[in-house]
């Protein structure tokens, strides 16, 4: 073993890295900071390294050309030994990375770790989050399938709404007038060179600052951060009741990192790679594009915002959110760290989490979209046709053929864009039904030009039968016995 030591000494005499590395590894951390809550940063770094390795492996086969990308992914999935596994690891790794970075951010926020003197660490962290999301979106583009193609269209449509510069931004983003070869090539350059290069640089800075400034101590309610005294107090804390990071504090990070890698691999094996879905052929229009899960909330938001609010919300919302995150350490750089005494912080996190969760959940079944095949795929349930007249049955046919079903459900089947019509006769009188069908309104198109008078009569005759047993349909108040005359 002596020769090994000699080789080591030969290198270190020239590199002179052993001492600084030992100092960094053995720097003292507060004993109570060695907690299972403090493992997410190192886990994000671990997944990032996994992404680099699997990304390089994928680049051995992948071809960033609009005419070849899709088939090179098929080759990875089916022809190259374990190509599917590397794709699945990279895809699941990306999902895990977004999730872990978000959890890390929430933890840092709730533990007040962004306060003095760690403001810049937080700000760089915000940029790391944005770059992670940028990697997620550009990665989805590289999976050059139908979802990627139409996802780019959505991105271009959003970018085009920027006042004045919109059209130029779209051309810059697409690399030309349409989504085509140049678009994929530039997203490849972003995903493989530009953003990863920035990420590596920013991650190094981020970790360096954690080493220099020390990891945040466990927040004690009532122990306030003051600029004048904090650094001295922190130093005393690490000296008095601290422990060296290696080997005393690192083992939880190691366990969790290994656990995350196993989880990524397990998901990869069990669920397999993501897509690619259909070919990126814009003449195939029978498609309902959807983004990956981390952008589903946005997809839902875009259908629920009032139309006039959309452009301002899309263009101003992200800017306000990012500026808010960047300003946070300056607005509350001192004071209480513990979440137990920061109810507004806790409520903010809960509110955002519930909002994003609800939107993501809604995007899972898109109640705002017409069911494109309901009119031909979901027949009118039998119970609605029992004991009906010929005219009413004709109305049920009109109801199907005119695609009313795409937006209105009967017996839980059909679209959810408009209200379910199982008991519509209780809500609307025959006259109101006719007016609604002919004129539309309340987000329903007008069908006046597409229904003959006979079809309208039949349709309304059918709709009038839609009321629960024992509950009579709505009638004109004026015609009711004892009612007011108009």
């Amino acid at each position: 073993m002596r020769w090994l030591t000699q080789i080591g000494e030969w290198f270190d005499h020239r590199l002179q890295l052993a001492a600084p590395i030992r100092d960094a590894a053995e720097h003292r951390v507060p004993r109570n900071a060695s907690s299972w809550f403090y493992v997410f940063g190192s886990a994000a770094l671990t997944v990032f390294m996994l992404q680099i390795v699997t990304g390089i492996l994928l680049a051995l086969i992948y071809v960033p050309s609009a005419s070849e990308a899709w088939s090179s992914l098929q080759a990875l999935n089916h022809d190259v030994a374990l190509g599917w596994f590397i794709r699945a690891m990279h895809g699941w790794g990306s999902n895990f990375m977004v999730a872990i970075v978000l959890i890390h951010m929430v933890q840092v926020f709730l533990f007040g770790a962004y306060k003095f003197p760690r403001e810049l660490t937080w700000i760089i962290g915000v940029f790391l989050l944005l770059m992670t999301l940028g990697m997620a979106f550009s990665g989805q583009v590289l999976r050059f399938d139908q979802d990627a193609y139409w996802g780019l269209g959505i991105g271009a449509s959003i970018a085009s709404r920027v006042p004045i510069a919109g059209p130029a931004i779209v051309k810059l983003m697409l690399g030309g007038p349409i989504i085509a070869g140049a678009t994929l090539s530039r997203f490849f350059a972003l995903h493989v060179f530009v953003i990863p290069g920035l990420l590596i640089g920013f991650v190094c800075l981020h970790v360096l600052m954690v080493l220099k400034l020390g990891i945040n101590e466990w927040p004690m309610p009532g122990r306030l951060v003051k600029r004048a005294t904090y650094e001295r107090e922190y130093h005393e804390l690490t000296q008095k009741e601290g422990e060296p990071f290696v080997p005393d504090a690192i083992w939880k990070d190691m366990f969790f990192a290994a656990f995350i890698l196993i989880a990524v691999a397990a998901c990869a094996i069990y669920f397999g790679p993501f897509g690619p879905s259909g070919q990126p052929d814009p003449t195939i229009i029978q498609t309902a594009p959807k983004p990956d899960y981390f952008f589903l909330w946005l997809y839902a938001l875009l259908s629920l915002l009032p139309p006039s609010m959309e452009t301002p919300a899309l263009l101003i919302g992200p800017v306000v959110a990012i500026i808010g995150l960047l300003l946070l350490p300056f607005l509350s750089g001192e004071g209480e760290k513990s979440w137990k005494r920061r109810p507004i912080a806790v409520l903010t996190v809960l509110l955002i989490a519930i909002t994003l969760g609800t939107f993501t959940h809604l995007a899972g079944f898109t109640p705002w979209s017409p069911h494109m095949s309901a009119w031909s795929g979901d027949p009118v349930p039998e119970k609605f046709l029992h004991g009906t007249t010929a005219l009413q049955r004709q109305g049920a046919l009109v109801f199907q053929v005119k695609q009313c079903r795409n937006c209105h459900s009967l017996g839980e089947l059909g679209g959810q864009r408009g209200p379910a019509l199982d008991s519509v006769a209780v809500r609307l009188t025959p006259d109101q039904l006719i007016r609604q069908v002919i004129q539309g309104g309340g987000n329903m198109p007008a069908y006046g030009k597409n229904l003959s008078p006979a079809e309208t009569t039949a349709l309304v005759a059918f709709l009038e039968t839609l009321h629960p047993e024992g509950q009579s349909p709505a009638r004109e108040a004026a015609l009711r016995e004892g009612g007011m005359q108009p």
Binding site: S65, G175, P177, A180, T283, V401, N406
Partner: protein, 181 residues
């Protein structure tokens, strides 16, 4: 040589060196920026747009709306199938046509035509349009994008070449089309 106002020979050369590098950087930056912006500058004066044929008018029966496809006029060798574009052709009567972009005016998803109810519906966020392309319901703030069209020698041709987007095409089509909605 103890005068503080005097500049040493080395100090002067360092300053000239910084200046020289700055000039070289600017000189190199000019072609780099022009290269980066080439996708915009080429598009000036609608250079991407040209007239493309969708086929004989006889392929489109009067009173009906049919899907047509065309190859984008601006093509690069690696574009694959992405330059094949779909559009909806409505023949009102005679040589009167309306040609709609496939892209929803909300966020660009492909709209589908339902002849029975006379509506275009979008699968993404539920936008709907009437047969003449005007907005019927949902999140879009305007009607479908329309390509300028003309009939020549029995062929229906449209002026196309750019992805229609809510910001860009409003101006683009409004300027050129006689029937912009």
């Amino acid at each position: 040589m103890s005068d503080e106002n005097l500049i040493s020979r080395r100090g002067l050369f360092t300053k000239i060196g910084v200046l020289f590098n700055g000039l070289v950087a600017v000189a190199i930056a000019v072609p780099i920026v022009r290269f980066l912006l080439s996708s915009i500058t080429r598009g000036r004066n609608n250079a991407y747009l040209s007239w493309v044929s969708l086929g004989r008018t006889s392929e489109f029966p009067e009173g009906e709306t049919r899907l047509a496809t065309f190859r984008n006029p601006y093509v690069m060798p690696t574009d694959g199938r992405t330059v094949d574009t779909a559009c909806w052709v409505r023949r009102i009567e005679g040589d009167q046509f309306q040609v709609f972009a496939i892209n929803c005016a909300h966020l660009g998803c492909p709209v589908r035509w339902f002849a029975q109810s006379g509506l275009f519906m979008c699968p993404c966020h539920g936008g709907a349009y009437y047969r003449d392309g005007s907005r019927a319901s949902g999140p879009p703030e305007r009607g479908l994008f329309e390509y300028p069209n003309k009939v020549e020698n029995g062929l229906i041709t449209i002026q196309a070449g750019e992805l229609p987007t809510p910001g860009a095409s409003a101006a683009l089509i409004g300027k050129n089309s006689p029937c912009a909605g």
